[in-house]
Amino acid sequence: MRHALLAAALVLTAVGPAHAQKKPAVDPAIVDKALKGSFATAAPDWQARLDQDETQKLCSQYRNAPPRAVAEAMIAREKANIAYPADGKLMGDWKKGEGLAQSGYGWRFTDYPARNANGGNCYACHQLDKKELSFGTLGPSLLEYGKIRKFTEAEVKAVYERIYNPHAAIPCANMPRMGASKFLTVDQIKDLVAYVMSPESPVNK
């Protein structure tokens, strides 16, 4: 499974846009300076959000189509920061997961002081429960995701990892690193895994 994903990821990178390899038209340091200077009135802890980590830098540079060696190193690096539940249980409560999948709350500057728990906002980009018609299409449809994959343990683990840190499977994925960024807690991710992978979840009905 892991190898299949890696192979798929590398195929994707191989057919990436031709301009991805081009030398940047402007020094990234100049771009960073222009951006930083454009948030001059923001507080320092907020300005820090503009700083890129290695993965963000590389995905920007290669426009999400990193060459093979860069992609492999990224997978290894991102995989290393995935934390697993202490009790080893990867599935929580799918009902709570449903609420999290619906909510886009959290970490916008209008979300402070926090009035709600952060939400996974899955429906912004994915189809899940077939009864929910208001779904986005930036990501693939996850309709019957668990059912199609026969609810296997390996697939449950893959979903946990994908939500925690998608770059560990798909380098330069569009999806946020919900666990690695600490945007969602391990328990929240478990609830989302249950929503996607539990046979009782409406996603699989």
Binding site: A34, T41, A42, L50, Q56, W107, A124, T137, L138, S181
Partner: protein, 275 residues
Amino acid sequence: MSAHPSLAVLALVLGLSTLAADVRAQDDTEKEVEKYRQMLKADPWSNPALLDADRGEALWKEKRGPKAASLEKCDLGKGPGKVEGAFAELPRYFKDADRVMDLETRIVWCMEKSQGFDRKDILKRPYSKANQSGTELEALATYVASKSNGLTYTPRLRHAKERQTLAIGTALFYRRQGPMDFSCATCHAESGRRIRLQGLPFLGKPEEARKVVGEWPAYRVSQGTVMTMQHRIADCYWQMRLPLIDYGSDATVALTMFLVNQAKGGPITAPTIKR
């Protein structure tokens, strides 16, 4: 934790939410907007943004500020006082400021230099709240943009700083950052995608950029007020979990330069009416 002192105000201005109920209502809103569009075809003067354009024209011509001057000597790039067609060539390099400026940045500059207003005062309230008439800046921008209605974008890239601004804007469009790893391209780099039910323009593709970039400033039905490109960009960065971007900042000008170049040759239909 607060990104900016006036965030409470902006929170109301943005007033956006991804709550499911709101998004479900979006489909209905889109139908309502379509009704509006049909009405506009029958009567182009029924667009509420034209009230802002009219008010902007009055503000442009009125003697105001510590210098009791109008903006009629303001050089938007085609010479002092020339408003017609100016928007179609913006952003551009201005020698007096030694900077590339978009329309809104230039309006602030003229209000400072010609009328003697204090920059802090001008920028105290750049964006209107929902269901309010446009701010002075919005009205002025809507007026000037409306004077390029019917023209096409003809960005100039003659000055080195104009070319540099375009390069920075392009890089910013693809730059991933913030706690969610978003770039503009996360949402705007493929055709036919949506967030919930809201369609997203593929701004990396000139054919699609040409259809939408020239629509701004626009009257937004869901907000009941006019929205400019500065505000539009600020909203995207808000959603990216970044702080409030400074009005007229280099990044906003650079992104506008990128968008206008993507939309090169596309029609300027501003002010239009949007969801």
